[in-house]
């Protein structure tokens, strides 16, 4: 009674397993496993929409959650699925996930049949070409493998297994297994073949062939299968492992071990077809593709490779901002605009400096002209004068007294000439383009003018004058105006004392020429000369101020700008 219930339960279970492995996805969870992504080895992030990656990244990884789901039927084991992926635009074909180990295992045993001396595995993974997920008409590969029997071995056993990593799931079908021995003469002698009768209706698919047995956690996963198109027609061994936690195998029992001799050269031959893979969490890593739109397609396959559901994740590789059209456009615009302004600015500054240079040259020319004229007019005139007098003295008959008078004239004139020459030289010499030398010169000039007139001259200069440069034109004007002011003071004021006070401000030179004489009416005729002086001062950017009143002396203040 209990046995019958058990059998019922077992058959029910088998039915469920069979339907599930036969590709009917009816009661499997529909949900696609969660996928996360990470860029350049960073943290994995959830995918909530299109994945945007910068084109400057090096690699992007997609992590697919484990494909093992709890079975809705709590009595049954969790179900495993496999993953097929393709990054459209990068992968040419669908990429199979690596699989577990499924295939033929050859073992050699010692005399006692208990010890395994040697083992050779012939495992396969992924999917064999021409695989049929319905497992009705898979294409078989014929395999030939060669072995040498190790020493000490007397028996050989064979097994088809799915005993790889537990996460491995898939289907493995093998048929027409045979072992041959190669003799020294090169012949092959068959020493083993699966003892099937050619497939007949009514074959009991549950019954194991002679000598073979099932093993594993779920022995039901090891099946006998009738495959159409097998040539020669026969039943095939099948392992259909859809349980990520279990494995199953077909193996030869001890009673059926094949006797072998150490050193024998064997050839093993069989047909195989398979499709397997891992159902654990998997990571797909891609080198960052060039900028563009991509689609990562993920197919969820059942254990035997039947696609059950699909998911697509949009992946957009974004051009770095500096490659995007809007940036390039605005950059080009900026360049063009900037270029235009730059060129304009360069041209403008060139023109400006050219103009400045021209003006400078013009000023220099004006100065040279003035000096040339000065030498010509003033000094030339004086020399001519001297020449006239000496010429006359040479030719005419002068008395000793007259001669002395003439010579005195000449003497005086030459002295003046020397002074005038010195002044011209001084004003031209660029060494004198300094504020301190100008003040010295003007002070000396004041003293030299006052001395012959017998008027005491009081000079006050600033304690220390930092080196400032004064243009030759300004020097000339200031000394001219000051000379005139002093000349007026000496000639008209009848003063008993004349003073010249120099003050230096950061921006200006102030010269105060005072006399304690009679003063004068500024609006009168002397006003003209003063106006001229004031005009000259204004020309150089300075000014002239006059304070005078009849009987109260005069003070003339010259203001000169200094850089």
């Amino acid at each position: 009674m209990i046995v019958r219930w058990l059998r019922w339960g077992g058959m029910l279970a088998l039915f469920f397993l069979e339907t599930s492995s036969a590709g009917f996805a009816a009661d499997q969870p529909d949900e696609i496993p969660a996928v996360q992504y990470s860029v350049d080895g960073g943290n994995f992030k959830d995918i909530t929409g299109p994945v945007k990656i910068s084109a400057e990244s090096k690699a992007v990884s997609f992590q697919v959650e484990s494909l093992v789901w709890p079975n809705p039927n709590p009595l049954q084991d969790p179900v495993g699925k496999r993953l097929l992926s393709k990054l459209e635009g990068v992968d040419e074909n669908w990429i199979f996930r690596r699989g577990g180990y499924m295939g033929l295992v050859v073992r050699f045993h010692d005399h006692s049949e208990n010890l395994t001396i040697g083992q050779k595995d012939f495992f396969v993974d992924k999917e064999s070409p021409g695989w049929d997920v319905t497992m009705q008409h898979p294409h078989f590969n014929r395999r030939h493998e060669f072995l040498t029997v190790p020493s000490g071995a007397e028996w050989m056993s064979l097994a088809f297994t799915s005993a790889g990593p537990p996460d491995g799931i898939g289907a493995y079908i093998a048929a027409n297994l045979a072992v041959y021995r190669r003799t020294a003469s090169g012949e092959t002698v068959r020493i083993f073949a699966t003892a099937f009768s050619p497939g007949e209706d009514g074959d009991d698919l549950q019954k194991a062939p002679a000598g073979w047995g099932r093993e594993g956690l779920h022995t039901s996963m090891a099946k006998m299968m009738r495959i159409e198109g097998l040539a020669p027609p026969s039943l095939a061994f099948g392992i259909v492992d859809n349980d990520p936690a279990a494995h199953a195998e077909w193996h030869l029992g001890k009673s059926a071990y094949v006797p072998v001799k150490a050193g024998d050269k064997l050839m093993i031959e069989w047909d195989e077809a398979y499709s397997n893979g891992l159902s654990s969490r998997c990571t797909l890593t891609y080198k960052c593709p060039p900028p563009g739109n991509y689609k990562l397609r993920l197919k969820i396959l059942n254990a035997v490779g039947f696609p059950e559901s699909e998911r697509a994740i949009e992946v957009i590789v974004v051009r770095p901002y500096w490659m995007q059209p809007w940036f390039l456009l605005s950059a080009a615009l900026v360049l063009v605009v900037g270029g235009t302004f730059g060129v304009r600015a360069i041209i403008r500054s060139r023109v400006r400096s050219h103009l400045a240079r021209l003006e400078q040259e013009h000023m220099v020319e004006r100065e040279r002209l003035r000096i040339a004229r000065n030498i010509h007019d003033d000094l030339g005139a004086r020399l001519t004068h001297i020449s006239l007098i000496t010429g006359r003295a040479e030719n005419e008959d002068f008395s000793a007294g007259e001669l002395r008078k003439e010579f005195r004239k000449v003497s005086g004139m030459t002295k003046d000439l020397i002074a005038a020459l010195y002044e011209t030289v001084w004003s031209v010499n660029p060494e004198n383009d300094h504020l301190d030398t100008l003040i010295d010169y003007l002070a000396q000039m004041a003293e030299n003018m006052c001395e012959p007139a017998g008027i005491p001259c009081r000079v006050s200069v600033p304690e220390s004058v930092r080196d400032r440069s004064i243009r030759s034109g300004i020097r000339h004007t200031v000394s001219l105006v000051m000379k005139e002011a002093l000349h007026n003071a000496i000639k008209y004021s009848e003063a008993s004392e004349i003073s010249a006070k120099f003050t230096v401000d950061p921006q200006t030179l102030l010269i105060e020429i005072r006399d304690n004489g009679s003063g004068f009416d500024a609006s009168g005729e002397r006003g003209n000369g003063l106006n001229n002086m004031a005009h000259r001062m204004r020309e150089i950017g300075g000014s002239l101020k006059i304070e005078t009143a009849k009987g109260e002396g005069t003070a003339i203040t010259l203001l000169t700008p200094i850089l």
């Binding site: 003497s411 030459t414 002295k415 020397i418 010195y422 030289v425 001084w426 030398t437 010295d440 010169y441 002070a443 000396q444 004041a446 003293e447 030299n448 005491p456 001259c457 009081r458 000079v459 006050s460 200069v461 304690e463 220390s464 003073s499």
Partner: protein
């Protein structure tokens, strides 16, 4: 006792004129004249005069360098610089090097004799202008003239009045001293300036480069 003079001037016309002028004076005798600083350094040590008239602008060894070298070995030698213009910068350099005064070349005999007599009696033909430069010089080398240990307070007063444009006589009146005393003070100021400069000046002249202001 006639005052002896040696003339150092490279222009032959000028040299001859000055020598002639000197010999016309009753109390002055020109010993000899040379045309270069090198010749002066050769001849002078063997036959020293009271006063040397030295052209500022000489070919070869400059007048200023020559002054410094001569004053080193002959500190009592009076040297008056001859200059075409009242070129303050060069004159001041010469004074710093040890000259006692200067003279414009285009001068008359009166000024020439006065210069020589003045200098022989211990005067220093200082113009107000030169005095200003001296004041500034002392200021530049020690923050305020007051701090200068070399100048006495009287000398300071004289110097300041000089640089303000007072004549010797006026200074005398102002300070209540004789003109001669003023002159002496000026001489002392000048000497002190030489002394202050001697070390630096000699060092510089040994390396044959004129001291810059």
């Amino acid at each position: 006792m006639k005052k002896t003079v040696v003339v150092v001037e490279d222009d032959p016309h000028l040299r001859n004129e000055i020598v002639a002028m000197l010999n016309r004076a009753p109390d002055i005798r020109c010993l000899y004249a040379v045309s270069s600083g090198e010749e002066a350094l050769l001849k002078l040590p063997r036959n020293l005069p009271n006063v040397v008239l030295m052209d500022i602008q000489l070919p070869g060894l400059s007048g200023i360098d020559c002054v410094a070298i001569l004053k080193r070995n002959n500190p009592d030698l009076e040297i008056v610089m001859l200059t075409i213009y009242q070129d303050a910068k060069n004159i001041f350099q010469a004074l710093k090097a040890g000259a006692s005064g200067y003279l414009i070349k285009a001068t008359d005999s009166k000024a020439l004799y006065n210069a020589i007599r003045d200098v022989s009696t211990g005067g220093a033909p200082f113009t107000n202008h030169i005095a200003r430069m001296v004041v500034r010089h002392f200021q530049a080398t020690s923050k305020a003239v007051k701090k200068e240990p070399g100048l006495s307070s009287r000398e300071l007063e004289v110097l300041e009045l000089l640089s303000a444009g007072y004549r010797y006589k006026e200074i005398g009146d102002e300070l209540g001293i004789a003109v001669e005393t003023v002159k002496t003070h000026v001489k002392h100021i000048c000497t002190k300036m030489h002394v202050r400069n001697r070390g630096a000046a000699i060092a510089k002249h040994c390396s044959k480069s004129p001291e810059t202001a």
